[in-house]
Symmetry: C2
Subunit: 397 residues, 2 copies
């Protein structure tokens, strides 16, 4: 049975105080829900999204077959997070460009589009906003919170900010903070956007332009870091892009024949020569058509800033002492952006606090992207973990 998704929105009149000292007022959060909230409101699962995703987590929109949610392999009727048993909530974060209030919207204090003036938001701020959404939905306590990558940071932060409101937390392909290398990649992407002449200091909307060049570069960099070296070699290797033979009555030159077969170099510095180049350019072009440049800056900064151990002198074990949830941690062997070693840091800190932790390192070739892909072992593991939660809920009912 196809799961039909329906986007909703909740308005919040009361200002949300942010970690930066600023606040946002009169904002909306876009969200979707799947499945039914049970009688004692105890079966809610919140899904937190990463950089390039939204509240549209699962299912399709009516009449749009290809509109599957970004984690549709994971969530739905009979799937690992089973919407026949759980009430699943997807929420678009504040500052995003997919429906919730963000830089493209009007600042009620000035009557002008926020642009670069949208306040800096942190993982902690998002969790606060999500908690208010749950208040609005009448959900006091989550059966589980779950997220991958930046979404995993939110899931982890939930257990620290609202320990009494989270029974279980699934933190997938995540980290307790970014490494210097991760911050470096984010910074290069941001510089590409900010130094694009079409960025206009973040107020490009008024100029009727979009800093597409910068967004393209940002996405290309991102894409390289989401994939593993292995999967890139397997998918593309050093394969050349084949070139169609020119339409002509004359016999083509031997060089043209080789190029048409993708076998000969064409010796060019600016045109596509290798398939990997063509792939990256395509990904960059596509991204630049729908993603907001200011949102990109905000979301990468939220990644940079997340660091729960900071206020505990860098001691992650102390930082995680507040958490009372039962945890599932999953990492992927070829993920060099959020490597297994980073997940193990979280596992160790939780075990130092004698918390319940299930940890799995999935041997997958796909790099960081693996957390979004179909992998039988990964999906069975998550299924088993949620089955236990569902069984406990059903035993109580």
């Amino acid at each position: 049975m196809t799961l039909i998704a329906e986007p909703r929105s909740m308005h919040f009149a009361e200002p949300l105080p942010l970690r930066s000292g600023a606040s946002v007022r009169g904002y909306d959060l876009a969200y979707e829900t799947y499945g039914r909230l049970n009688a004692d409101r105890s079966n809610a699962v919140l899904i937190c999204h990463a950089l390039n995703a939204s509240h549209h987590v699962a299912g399709v929109y009516p009449g749009q077959e290809k509109s599957e949610g970004w984690w549709d392999t994971m969530i739905g009727p009979g799937k690992p997070v089973d919407t026949d048993r759980f009430f699943v909530i997807g929420v678009n974060n504040l500052g995003s460009c997919f429906g919730s209030t963000g830089p493209m919207h009007t600042n009620p204090d000035t009557g002008r589009i926020y642009g670069a003036d949208f306040p800096v938001v942190t993982v902690e701020d998002w969790v606060d906003a999500q908690a208010r959404l749950l208040d609005g939905l009448g959900i006091a306590r989550l059966a589980a919170v779950m997220g991958g990558s930046l979404g995993g940071m939110q899931a982890l932060s939930w257990t620290l900010q609202y320990p009494q409101r989270v029974a279980n937390a699934a933190v997938i392909a995540s980290a307790p903070n970014l490494t210097a290398e991760n911050i470096a990649f984010n910074e290069v992407a941001r510089r590409a956007i900010v130094t694009d002449p079409d960025f206009h200091g973040g107020h490009f909307y008024a100029h009727g332009v979009v800093p597409r060049r910068g967004l393209r570069i940002a996405r290309m960099i991102g894409h390289i870091t989401y994939l593993s070296d292995d999967v890139m070699n397997e998918k593309f290797g050093r394969s050349l892009r084949a070139t169609p033979l020119p339409a002509s009555d004359e016999a083509p030159s031997p060089d043209a024949v080789l190029a048409a077969a993708g076998l000969g170099y064409r010796y060019t510095t600016q045109d596509v020569e290798f398939q990997i180049e063509s792939y990256l350019r395509y990904q960059g072009d596509k991204f630049s058509e729908y993603f907001d440049a200011n949102t990109y800056l905000l979301i990468t900064r939220a990644l940079d800033y997340f660091d729960p151990a900071l206020r505990h002198g860098g001691n992650l074990s102390k930082a995680l002492a507040a958490a009372t949830a039962r945890f599932l941690l999953v990492s992927f062997t070829t993920d060099w952006r959020f490597s297994p070693a980073r997940s193990r840091e979280i596992v160790k800190a939780l075990l130092d606090n004698r918390r319940s932790v299930t940890y799995a390192e999935i041997d997958a070739p796909h790099g960081h992207d693996a957390f979004l892909l179909e992998d039988a072992r990964y999906l069975s593991l998550v299924r088993a973990w949620f089955d236990r939660i569902a069984a406990a809920l059903e035993a109580k009912a």
Copy 2:
């Protein structure tokens, strides 16, 4: 004793045919030599450079104490490549921007600056040009050819293109070709340059501008890939950039005090927050002031194209059958750009051909940059290898 360097130049009237089918005529190569050529002209060592280097390999220019050559730790009197025993030649490659003919020079066929019309050059073309330089210097056979990274590819190519002219070859931190991931990083850097509005299709010289934005991004990306994750964490970690307290008679705010100590976030998406950002921006700025954008495209493309196994159906062992030199291969454990596995491919292919190979994997934390740094084990190893060569030469004399 300080080694004094003196840049020279050799002019070549005869056209050099290139792999692309194009040719370059009336070109100059900048070079330097150190030490003395012995009586039977048998003690010459050619050093090939990588992306961001030149013919200025060792020593200093008169009156400029800080002008050490880029491999001054390796080459000089009493150093591993001992200029008291060897006649060492550094040469700037065709298409570079440090003295040899390149995109910034005038095309004799049109009377205009080459710009983006400078023909695509390959590792093989560079080796051909270097061979002509040796002809001009009256050197029939090299005691050794040596290079790191892209320079290592040239050293390897020497043994295939001119096996009779190379007795020994040192291939450091190199690879038999680039992986898809390497090509991908090069492509993002090129796109940043080419899509900079100041690039003007590669003819920016006429517009009196330089595509600095693109060059900065290119260099930042490059810099991340030259370092290891470990050394970045050790050098910068998540340290914040301290901010001077504003000059004021009033007591500073607690937030300002924290920021001054580099302890508090300032919550900014466009300003520097972490030290790693400041470091990368500085590297990008510096590079954009001296490096030519068209040269960047040419040199990264030469890297992409190098693949001696291509004409042998991808069989590296077959490709290296032509080599007769004795080899030294060195790789560095944390080099993820030219990983030890890639050096081992070369070692295996040479051993398949029963060639003489010394191979060392140096346990160094510095990533790809390690080949340029002072590391006692690395330097002793190279010293021992060159000592053997020098001893053999001296025994003959």
